[in-house]
Amino acid sequence: MGGLLSSSIARKVAMALSALFLIFFLIIHLAVNLTSLFSESVYNDLSHFMGTNPLVQFGLQPVLIFGVVFHFVMGFILELKNKKSRNVKYIKFNGAANASWMSRNMAISGGVILIFIVIHFIDFWIPELNIKFVQGDMSGMENGEYRYFAHLQHKFMNPVKVGIYVVAFVLLALHLLHGFQSAFQSIGFNNKYSKFVKNLGVIYSIVIPLGFIVIALYHYFNH
């Protein structure tokens, strides 16, 4: 890894910046999804806009994909490097004595989230790509109306899927509980406002995943 990411701190900052970007993305994503609780038409309109606007599709979407892929790849590379920096392991290592479970197991929570994202892509994104770009149907229509809300409801009919969804978001919460404030620390933000950032992080880490879980459960019980 040469150039920009040659040093440990540069990599650490890159992880933090991609994390902050993803944290921001989650807010947008949740905001759009939340509309499905209140209004089928608003959700459909927003989804159609997001799905067909060239700026979103060809500008923001690649950035997002890059951010996601980068965060995962870099995360796992760092995890491997870090593992290697202790070539002989302790017989007894009491990690719980000095650090939270969340902070010590970002790779595990991250891994579960990765699995979820793959499922998520297969569920939503690949069919969407298929319709829009392979079949060339940019209308967003199915049987005379927007298909987005119907698809959403359909996906959440399967209790196994909803279960996976819930578990993944619990792990996302755990990931964020450490990751949110950690990202700020990494970019050098540690001052009198850090306490506020920490609290904000806790609120964010609980509210955002909870929001996604509520949506899943709502549609599961209300289809």
Binding site: S8, I9, K12, V13, S85, Y90, I91, G95, N98, Q185
Partner: protein
């Protein structure tokens, strides 16, 4: 009290090493942990066995030489102290205590519980100083006032004893707390600002070269640090590094 000790024995750097069990009896709760080790070693000498090698010197918590990993934590379960300040009253009769060397690829074992921490020295040689000659003809000490706030923060960072507990406690074997304490001490003082950019870049580069892991902000180092060096220093180093790189 009577105790069972499981201690890492390793003849030399190339040896594989293993845990060996020892029993000690009649240990006073007022003993320091290292005095308990002395008692064990005296008994080994009496039996014509080779005593257990471990690093120690000042035995008052300031030289940073002692380094044991006790029951899964550097400097044992107590907080804000080094191993030499750990007392046996922290343990109970009948306890089993695991004693291992500090572990990191950058801290290879020399013998038994003794590790080589010279990686820290090389990091400091890469820039942990202010380039001023000892002529005695520098300006008067009071010529540059330094705010008490910054002087105190600098002192808090400078309190680091270089023991390596931060590396030992970190699941990533990261040396960020140590390096950031050095970087911070100088970055907070006007004298140190002139070379600040080169310093942080060079020291971080050397840190990476030595094979320490990357920081994931678990905060274990801050908890285990016998001198309570704050994570704020790591954030400061990150800032300094960014400033120097951009």
């Amino acid at each position: 009290m009577d105790l069972t000790l499981k201690i890492w024995r390793q003849k030399g750097p190339q040896d594989k090493g293993q845990m060996v069990e020892y029993k000690v009896t009649d240990i006073s709760e007022h003993m320091s942990f290292l005095e308990m080790m002395d008692v064990l070693n005296e008994s080994l000498v009496a039996k014509n066995e080779v005593p257990i090698a471990f690093d120690h010197d000042c035995r008052e918590g300031i030289c940073g030489m002692c380094s044991l990993h006790i029951n899964g934590e550097p400097h044992g379960p107590d907080r804000g102290i080094t191993t030499c300040q750990l007392h046996m009253r922290t343990f109970k009769d009948g306890d089993t205590i695991y004693i291992e060397p500090f572990r990191a690829k950058a801290f290879p074992v020399i013998k038994d519980l003794v590790v080589d921490r010279t990686a820290f020295e090389r990091i400091q040689q890469a820039g942990g100083y202010i380039s001023v000659n000892t002529s005695g003809n520098t300006q008067d000490a009071n010529a540059i006032p330094i705010s008490k706030h910054n002087a105190d923060l600098s002192m808090d960072a400078a309190a680091c004893i270089g023991c390596g507990a931060c590396v030992a406690s970190c699941k990533n074997s990261s040396a960020m707390l140590f390096v950031s304490a050095k970087v911070s001490q100088y970055a907070l003082l006007p004298q140190g600002k002139i070379e600040a950019k080169d310093r942080v870049k060079n020291m971080v580069a050397q840190m990476d070269l030595e094979g320490f892991g990357n920081c994931t902000n678990t905060g274990a180092c801050e908890v285990e640090c016998p001198k309570s060096i704050s994570l704020e220093n790591i954030a400061r180093m990150n800032r300094e590094y960014l400033k120097a790189s951009i």
